[in-house]
Each structure stands twice: as C-alpha cells, then as structure tokens.
C-alpha cells in the first residue's frame, strides 16, 4: 500500500514551478580592482533553493571566476557567511524563497578585509578567539591519578551550553557597530567565547580571561546594540554573554 504522505510530496514536487530571481553579486579583487562592482545574474530557483545553491549555480554555468567559501552546506562549518540583502547570514542556511525579494544582493561581510568577491579574511577573528584561551583551564585533568570525570548537573551545563554552539562563522562580528569603527575591539565572538568558559564550573581560568577582556578595547566598548544576537544562525546570544561578563567584572556575579 502506498503511503499517502509520500504520494502527496511527489505530486507537490511535480507541480512546483521554477521561478527566476536576479542575483546581484559583489565582485572585487583587491589585487587589481579599485572598488566593488555588482554583476547581475538571472537564476532559477525552487522553494528549497538556498542562496549558496544559487551562487554555485552561477559559478558552474555563468561565471567560473566567482569566489565563494563554503563547505558543509548545513550551517555547521560557518564558512559561507556573507551579507545577503544587507544582513549578515549563512548562504547555505538562507532560502531564496524566504527572502521575499526579486533581487538578491550578495556581498562580503562587513568589518573584515576582503580576499576576493564574497570571501573575507577571518584571521583576526580566529586570533581573538585564541586569545580567550578557548579550553578548560585547571591543574588536574580527567586522566590525572585519583581524579574522575568532571560531572556536571543539567543546571551547570545550562549556564554555558548555548554559547558552546558558536560555529565561528563571524556573522556577529560583521553585524557589530563597534567593530565597524574600532579595529582593535575584541568583538562579540571572542567575548562570548570568554563567557562560555567563565560560566563553565569545570574551568578555573576565570581571572585570566577577565584580565584579557578588561582592556581599553575589550568588553567595555560594547554598546549593547544587540545586532550580534539578531544575526547568529545558531541561536547564541552574544549580547547576553557580554552583559553577564560585565556582571563578573563589576562584582555582581561571583
């Protein structure tokens, strides 16, 4: 007997009509271009076509020179961050149909040096991430003699788990207004990672991390615009993490 749901899905796929959209793509090569130029491509799309699919379609059939970074295509690697219709998003996680627009403008993310076209240099973000010592700091370890696993209660895990979902895509730094003017600012990504470990009860490196972020271009330069939390594709709330860290520095939280 045929499953009625499968029959329904097949018929909906057959009846779906392919529409077209204008993909307005930023093209810039810092080696020989003086400024960004936009090139328009007409691409057909289905209900499920993502912006990344459309860009790769252009790259395959219309312009092989398009530079785009991608890997997993399922919002896990954080490689395909770009500005889509003015907002930082993951191209693999944004369907054309949900944008409700006939023109899709794709540009490289703000606040990063452009490598080419849609690819930006994320090196500084990774450097500031490393600066936060993104690992558990303590003298003993799970493999030290006479120690066991560091068990945590669900409440203790709840304290930091959402911040551990960060995939380092850099969208938060791209949306941050402080990052746009202060090139030395640590950025919401790094500050959130600092909080991820400060809030972990297994970690003993709180004072080290608080010292790093308590700088003239550190945590105090956040204006709490909250745009970092708005654009995070993984539901992380960097703005909240930053406020919690401030609580630690002001002595409201132990």
């Amino acid at each position: 007997m045929t499953d009625p749901q499968i029959v329904e899905e097949q018929s909906s796929a057959e009846s779906s009509s392919s529409k077209t959209v204008t993909l307005r793509m930023a093209k810039f090569n810092p080696e020989h271009d003086s400024g960004t130029q936009f090139v328009n491509f007409q691409v057909s799309y289905e209900r499920w076509t993502t912006v990344l699919d459309a860009i790769l379609d252009v790259k395959k059939h219309l312009d092989h020179s398009v530079a785009v970074r991608y890997s997993c295509r399922q919002a896990s690697c954080g490689s395909c961050g770009m500005k889509i219709n003015g907002r930082p998003r993951l191209a693999c996680f944004t369907k054309i149909s949900e944008l409700n627009s006939d023109v899709i403008t794709v540009e490289p993310m703000n606040n990063y040096p452009i490598v080419r076209d849609l690819v930006v240099d994320l090196e500084r973000m990774f450097d500031t991430h490393k600066e936060m010592k993104p690992f558990i700091i303590r003298e003993d370890s799970e493999i030290t003699t006479n120690t066991k696993e560091f068990l945590q209660t669900p409440e203790q895990v709840e304290e930091y788990i959402q911040f551990a979902n960060c995939i380092k895509c850099g969208l938060c730094n791209s949306a941050c207004p402080t990052m746009a003017t202060d090139s030395s600012f640590l950025g919401p990504q790094a500050l959130t990672q600092a909080y991820r470990y400060v809030a972990d009860n297994r970690d003993k490196g709180k004072n080290e991390r608080l010292k790093i972020i308590d700088d003239s271009h550190g945590i105090w330069r956040c204006h709490f615009a909250g745009s970092c939390s708005q654009v995070c594709p993984k539901g992380v709330d960097p703005a909240m993490g930053i406020q919690m860290l401030r609580g630690h520095l002001l002595g409201f939280k132990k």
């Binding site: 202060d182 030395s184 600012f185 700088d215 003239s216 105090w220 330069r221 002001l250």
Partner: protein, 115 residues
C-alpha cells in the same frame, strides 16, 4: 588603571551627577520662582552658602570626570594607534584637571566674596 575601574568610576559619577543635579534643579524651582533664582544676588548667595557651594563643586567634579572619560572612550573608538591613544588619554586627563581647577577657582572666589 584597569578599564573596569575606570568604567566603575564612569557609572558612579553618572549616578552621582544625576542625583546632585536633581537636587540642584529642585532647589531652584522650590525655593523661589525659576526666574528669580537666576537673579545676580540669588546666584551669589548660593555660592556663599557653604553646603550649596560644596554641592556645586561636587557636580563640577562628577560631570568633568564623567564627561572627559566619555570623550576619551569616543575618541578611542574613532581611531586606534598606540601614540594616538596615549595623547587622547593624557589630553583628556589634562583637560579635566584644567576645567576642575578653573571651576573650583570660580566657586571658591565667589563663596569668599571676591566678585
């Protein structure tokens, strides 16, 4: 000085200034009409009343510290660079000291009747 200490001072001076300026404004509008409170004799009388002169001096210090630190923060966000940041920090400190010294001189001279 650590940035967290500077920011604690920044928030503290803001709160202090809000409270004292509120007292100052309430004093202006409750003791007499606002227009009368700006008459020359009444203004000079405020300075001669020592507790009020102390409050004015405190408002001057709180607002200068808060304002110049705010300016420092804005300038640090505007441009970066070691020597630039040093100039901004010491420049703001010096300006703050000059403003407090000049304001204090005015308060002191007026309260001593040297007008």
């Amino acid at each position: 000085m650590r940035e967290s200490i500077i920011m604690k001072i920044h928030y503290g001076t803001a709160l202090g200034a809000v409270v004292l300026v509120a007292v100052h404004i309430l004093y202006r509008i409750t003791m007499m009409s606002f227009g009368d409170s700006l008459e020359y004799e009444n203004v000079v009388a405020n300075y001669k009343f020592v507790p009020y002169a102390i409050m004015l001096e405190l408002i001057l210090v709180l607002l200068s510290v808060h304002g110049f630190n705010g300016l420092r923060v804005i300038l640090l966000e505007l441009k970066q660079g070691k020597s630039y940041e040093k100039v901004v920090t010491y420049g703001c400190l010096a300006s703050m000291a000059i403003l407090i010294a000049y304001g204090s001189r005015t308060i002191l001279m007026t309260s001593m009747g040297m007008t």
